[in-house]
């Protein structure tokens, strides 16, 4: 009989929780929702022995169980609700040994809620470098819980921890804080009103829930009023009482007296990284380095992917008998997929840099440097991490904005994140930019492609700031506004943490984008190769007549050369897809877009990167090959049938670039905004705002330069 133990990892931010989670679970982890809620959970599995399986829940880092931000609320919600299916059998509390006193504050609160817990004492090495060491048995005796020293980043102590879980699982909780000073009658009333057996849990729940607008919270508020209970004073007393208990324990267990003479490396590094000139210079230089890496260094693996797909298409084309299935696979599925998978290297490189900066602790410094800059726009320093993350993908970044305490600042950040140019725009930008600027163009040591790309990212960033300012004028808040953030010590990046992050992100991109792209490609291919019978017959008729009028020599030439391309184009125009493109053409003509771009705008409504796949499918259907160079060639050759001028003028491309920079063509973002703001209202406002912004800017640009 297999036994399942559910444990939750709890701790302050930056205590090494993620490293421990990765060390315990490796790649056996997945992100999903708690049943029936919008609360996201990260769950992993590990085998303890033949019979015992460990289910590990990674909860967001928090400083206390009186949550002040949305991610802290997640942790509180899981720990307070005993009927929750994922309610843990045990909490593994990860404590940073170099900052033990503050870390233990949360530990005593968690334990008082009634969950059995043990302490994994992490970062002993960091503490030792600062001259702090602890006598573990004394600490255990003082606190009355099991303390296991670990080094999550070096994977030390993990086996001991597993062994304890297997043979010596703590089953009772310890109580630290006494409610003796609180009116017994009030606690009774609260316990009855909240169905909590534990008085502390009831009081804590009542304090956290009293500000919500529900019947229950009104009742709780009334109880507090009845006993004239001063919540502010109680909370202060509670914190001090806990710190006092912790102080006694920590002092008793501490081996050497504090010796703060050694200057830490972190301080020296920070003196440079937060310096008024060097700090900003280094930040800008890092951003620039990332763009160069994404745009220049990724070309080698991209060429490989492209070559791989080309030979795969060739193979499939020859291996399968000619016919509908062959066409569908080669011109529909493979053409669409290769157009997007080719950008995987760029996305991996981008995520790699963001993950590294986050892992070493640099992102917190960026928040510190930029707070003053963000303030006039209704955001704060903590908004910077989600905004920079938005350059990789808006979806995880919108979730990362949970760390922003102030509701209004968080909402504004969420609303403007999609303006940051995400990796899905890369394929679109790459294709469009390369149409007018040769690869070889350089400016000093820099590739001009890289510079133009950086300009597009800058356009997105400026638009995000200005939009935030606009939203700030309309969104009001009475919540107290503050900015308080820890600057964690620098750490060496950890290869396993980075690899797991990259594996997750790359997998999500390939699976997520892949699914949509295959579906869209197939549907599009069908729509582009079939059409209303009358129209299709008319095209067939036209060419039959033309052929009949030709001489033998002309016929042969036409069959081999140019006419078939024109013929394909006519068929596309007559197809269902073409008819639809034609239908919306009047609306997008003022932006400089023709009906073929119209088809792509429609298909990329679900996800931007589909634009490139659609373009390859459309131009593959109308005769061109399916690698990127040939799509570009085909697009450049494209002529407007009425004016005879090229369809893709500089003004059209610029207009298209702006459209893709601003428009919210990403269903995943719409879904996540609805989930995170808990209302369809803001998702709709955001979608409409961004669509109007995109249409307006494209219109302006094309009308001025077109």
């Amino acid at each position: 009989m297999e036994r399942l133990i559910t444990v939750a990892l709890v701790g302050n931010p930056n205590c090494g929780k993620t490293s421990l989670f990765n060390a315990l679970t490796g790649l056996n982890q997945k992100v999903s929702n708690f049943p029936g809620t919008t609360v996201e959970k990260k769950i992993g599995e590990a085998k303890l022995s033949g019979q015992v399986k460990l289910q590990i829940i990674d909860l967001p880092g928090t400083y206390s169980l009186y949550p002040k931000s949305a991610d802290e609320l997640v942790t509180y919600e899981i720990l307070r609700n005993k009927s929750e299916t994922n309610y843990p059998d045990l909490v593994i509390f990860i404590a940073d040994a170099s900052n033990l006193k503050r870390n233990l504050l949360l530990f005593t609160q968690v334990s008082d809620l009634g969950v059995p817990a043990l302490i994994a004492l992490n970062m002993m090495d960091v503490a030792e470098r600062r001259g702090i060491t602890y006598d573990i048995p004394v600490l255990e005796a003082q606190l009355g819980v099991k303390v296991i020293p670990i080094n999550a980043r070096k994977r030390e102590g993990i086996d001991t921890l597993k062994q304890v879980l297997l043979t010596d699982l703590p089953s009772v909780h310890k109580e630290y804080f006494s409610l003796a000073a609180v009116d017994k009658n009030m606690l009774n009333d609260l316990s009855k009103a909240t169905d909590k057996r534990n008085a502390y849990a009831a009081l804590q729940y009542a304090i956290n829930a009293k500000d919500l607008l529900s019947e229950k919270s009104a009742k709780l508020k009334a109880i507090f009023e009845k006993y004239t209970f001063n919540i502010r004073q109680f909370l202060e007393d509670e914190v001090f009482a806990r710190y006092h208990i912790i102080d006694v324990a920590v002092k008793a267990a501490r081996l050497k007296p504090k010796d703060n003479l050694k200057q830490s490396v972190t301080r020296k590094v920070d003196a440079v990284l937060t310096h008024r000139f060097y700090g900003i210079g280094i930040f800008l230089a890092l951003m620039f380095l990332i763009f160069q890496a994404v745009f220049s260094w990724s070309t080698y693996p991209m060429d490989l992917v492209e070559m791989g797909f080309a030979s795969l298409s060739e193979y499939v084309k020859n291996a399968l008998p000619a016919g509908v299935l062959n066409d569908l696979l080669v011109q529909g599925v493979l053409a669409g997929l290769s157009g997007v998978i080719v950008f995987l290297p760029q996305i991996v490189v981008l995520f790699f840099f963001i993950a590294i900066l986050e892992d070493i602790g640099y992102m917190a410094r960026v928040g510190f440097i930029m707070d003053k800059v963000m303030r006039p726009f209704g955001m704060n320093g903590k908004s910077i991490v989600p905004l920079i993350g938005g350059m990789a993908c808006a979806v995880p970044s919108i979730m990362a904005s949970r760390s922003i305490e102030n509701k209004r600042e968080r909402l504004i950040t969420i609303l403007v994140i999609p303006l940051m140019s995400c990796s899905a725009r890369l394929p679109v930008y790459t294709l469009l930019i390369s149409m007018f600027i040769p690869d070889t163009a350089v400016f000093g040591p820099f590739n001009i492609h890289g510079l133009v790309l950086m300009f597009m990212y800058l356009v997105g960033f400026v638009a995000a700031l200005l939009s935030a300012w606009i939203f700030k004028q309309f969104i009001k808040s009475s919540q107290q506004n503050y900015f308080l953030m820890e600057l964690p010590g620098y750490k060496m990046p950890l290869a396993s943490n980075l690899l797991i992050t990259l594996y997750e992100k790359a997998g999500a991109f390939v699976l997520g984008a892949g699914k949509i792209i295959i579906a869209v490609s197939v549907v599009l291919w069908v729509l582009a190769s079939t059409g209303p019978k009358a129209k299709m017959d008319a095209v067939a008729q036209k060419y039959t007549v033309q052929m009949e009028r030709m001489s033998e020599a002309e016929k042969n030439e036409a069959l081999i050369g140019g006419l078939s391309m024109q013929q394909n184009a006519d068929y596309l125009e007559a197809s269902y897809a073409g008819q639809f493109g034609k239908f919306i053409e009047p609306a997008i003509l003022p932006l400089g877009f023709d009906w073929k771009i119209g088809i792509s705008l429609l298909t990329s409504l679900a996800a931007r990167e589909v634009f490139v796949g659609t373009m390859s499918t459309i131009y593959s259907v109308s005769g061109a090959d399916d690698n990127l160079d040939s799509i570009r060639e085909a697009m450049l050759k494209e002529k407007n049938p009425i004016t005879g001028k090229p369809t893709y003028s500089l003004a059209t491309v610029f207009s298209l670039l702006l459209f893709y920079a601003f428009a919210l063509q990403c269903m995943s973002t719409v879904a996540i905004v609805k989930k995170e703001t808990d209302s369809a209202k803001w998702a709709i406002i955001q979608f409409v705002y961004l669509t109007v912004l995109a249409y307006g800017s494209s219109l302006l640009v094309y009308q001025i330069f077109g």
Partner: protein, 77 residues
């Protein structure tokens, strides 16, 4: 004197923390009466500041630091 007025090289003792939610948040993050505090860095645009208190390094805006009352103890270094 309050924390927003502290200068580089000064060391001070936190005597009182004012404010409502802000005060509780400060307590939870280790800004407590009786702790020694010193100024570590000033952000490039003059605000916020980074302080060292207890065993942690925190950053906060000057307007929030004004809620923390301090008493200078000595010049460090």
């Amino acid at each position: 004197m309050n924390l927003s007025e502290i200068k580089k090289g000064q060391q001070a003792l936190v005597t009182k923390v004012n404010g409502d939610i802000l005060a509780l948040k400060l307590f939870e993050m280790g800004v407590l009466p009786g702790e020694l505090v010193s100024l570590e860095h000033i952000a490039p645009f003059g605000d916020p500041i980074a302080i060292s208190i207890g065993e942690s390094k925190l950053c906060l805006r000057l307007e929030d630091a004004a809620h923390v009352e301090i008493e200078l103890t000595a010049w460090k270094d």
